[in-house]
């Protein structure tokens, strides 16, 4: 079983009402795109939040893309475009 940690930030966290969770992957590893699809199976609020093409993702605190692979003990962060400075 591959367990990963998922973090949600800012507007995305508020929309999902979830800051952090442990998530069991259905297989040993999957792509960010497949992970998003699995999360969207949870229902409308998740589909809505992830439908925004601007949602960014980091794997192990490094910016990632839809085909970045995720496996056991990885940390995945989802967040909206950044607005610091």
């Amino acid at each position: 079983m591959s367990t990963i940690k998922i973090l949600y930030f800012a507007k995305l966290r508020d929309q999902l009402d979830c800051a952090e969770e442990a998530f069991e992957l259905a297989s040993e590893a999957c792509s960010v795109e497949q992970l998003k699809a699995a999360l969207c199976e949870r229902g409308e609020s998740w589909q809505k939040a992830f439908a925004d093409s601007q949602v960014l993702v980091a794997v192990n605190q490094v910016m990632a893309t839809a085909d970045t692979q995720v496996s056991a003990n990885d940390e995945v962060g989802f967040f909206p475009p950044v607005t610091g400075g």
Binding site: F9, A10, V62, V82, T83, G84, G85
Partner: protein, 150 residues
């Protein structure tokens, strides 16, 4: 070579300047930039600004920015400080300081660090209003400025 800090406390610009000046006489230029929280566009319903970030990743991104700047320009030292938490108009929010032998490298590196920080470092601003928080949207103009450095 580099110093990065993400903090809730205010910061002392003269202290950073002094640290950057410590590399003299090897250096001939120090460029510092301080960003302040602007008034909330006359919108009196905004009580404060709240800054959130991705602990751990933020520091890594900022360190990576300084490393990239050092590859592009002959800078000797660089400092980035960014505040998080609740901030009000006129508060200091961000500091970027760079020193170098010559001003062209120091000016360019400081501008590069600010431009890329605004589009790549995981910080998010929320306006605090009586009815709740409102997350700010990223600006296309910031993205455009950052693309100049690609």
């Amino acid at each position: 070579m580099m110093s990065v800090s993400v903090q809730t406390e205010d910061f002392d610009v003269p202290a950073f300047y002094k640290a950057l000046k410590a590399d003299a006489p090897q250096i001939g230029a120090i460029v510092t930039f301080t960003g302040l929280v602007r008034e909330f566009n006359d919108d009196i319903s905004v009580e404060a600004l709240y800054l959130e970030h991705y602990p751990g990743m933020t520091e890594q991104v900022l360190e990576g920015l300084i490393e990239e700047a050092a590859k592009r320009w002959p800078i000797i030292n660089a400092t980035i400080v960014h505040r998080v938490g609740e901030l009000r108009p006129a508060d200091q929010i961000v500091f970027v300081g760079v020193n170098s032998a010559h001003r062209d490298a120091a000016f360019a590196a400081a501008e590069y660090l600010m431009d890329i920080l605004k589009t790549k470092a995981p910080f998010w601003k929320r306006e605090q209003r009586p009815e709740g928080g409102k997350w700010l949207d990223a600006k296309a103009s910031d993205e455009k400025r950052a693309t100049r450095w690609h």
